[in-house]
Symmetry: C2
Subunit: 132 residues, 2 copies
């Protein structure tokens, strides 16, 4: 009757995992969430807040505030496009360098997870997001 709270399991797993990635990425002064944003922007070249929010499946206001942190750290800059409502985000030179420097640390974190989880758990992880 006491089935474990699935949400709690996921949240705990996410926190633990985030801590691992954050610990690796801290060596270049990034968090996993920041690394993810940089990756999305790097891939796209330029993205508006709303586009980035859609790409990350996060709330617009969340992205807006997270982007402010990246701007504060001089990793991302805003540039205007024709539309007066939107402002496009792109990496600064510092941002590009930081992102490049972060990549090996991210891969190390990935490897650490792969070392700990069984292959079928990895697969389950991948299919999990799709199901939700």
């Amino acid at each position: 009757m006491d089935s474990p709270c699935y949400c709690d399991l996921l949240r705990t797993a996410a926190r633990k995992t985030t801590a691992i990635y954050d610990r690796h990425l801290a060596e270049v002064g990034l968090t996993l969430a920041q690394y993810k944003l940089l990756k999305k922007i790097e891939r796209a070249g330029e993205l508006s807040i709303s586009e980035l929010a859609a790409a990350c499946d996060l709330d617009r206001s969340t992205i807006g505030r997270n982007a402010q942190v990246l701007e504060k750290h001089d990793l991302v800059a805003e540039c205007s496009c024709g539309d007066g409502r939107r402002s496009m985000l792109k990496l600064t030179e510092t941002g590009r360098q930081r992102f490049a420097a972060a990549a090996p640390h991210w891969r190390a974190a990935q490897a650490e997870i792969e070392a700990v989880l069984a292959p079928d758990q990895i697969v389950a992880l991948t299919t999990l997001s799709d199901a939700l």
Copy 2:
């Protein structure tokens, strides 16, 4: 070469799942995180901040602040024990009622997850926390 970021998968899954539970629990004015704290306190009767933090595998300061929210909502009260350093947390009468009222909503959320995930994914979830 582009293996998906396991951390991102987990974080996204956790966010989505939390939203589902929060939506159910919002009917009684609780979040999943708050429900979890109430459950732990209810099970134990009385718990100190540090004990609750250990039970939830969360930082002490996190629990301290989350407990303040619960106290603000009059769901939890502090009572002193012999030790002048510690103050024990226990449910108020309101807290007990709220927790009882929340239970069916939590179960509905659990059922919603079970309806969406395959049984082997449920199992994978359960073993995931242990592995991390």
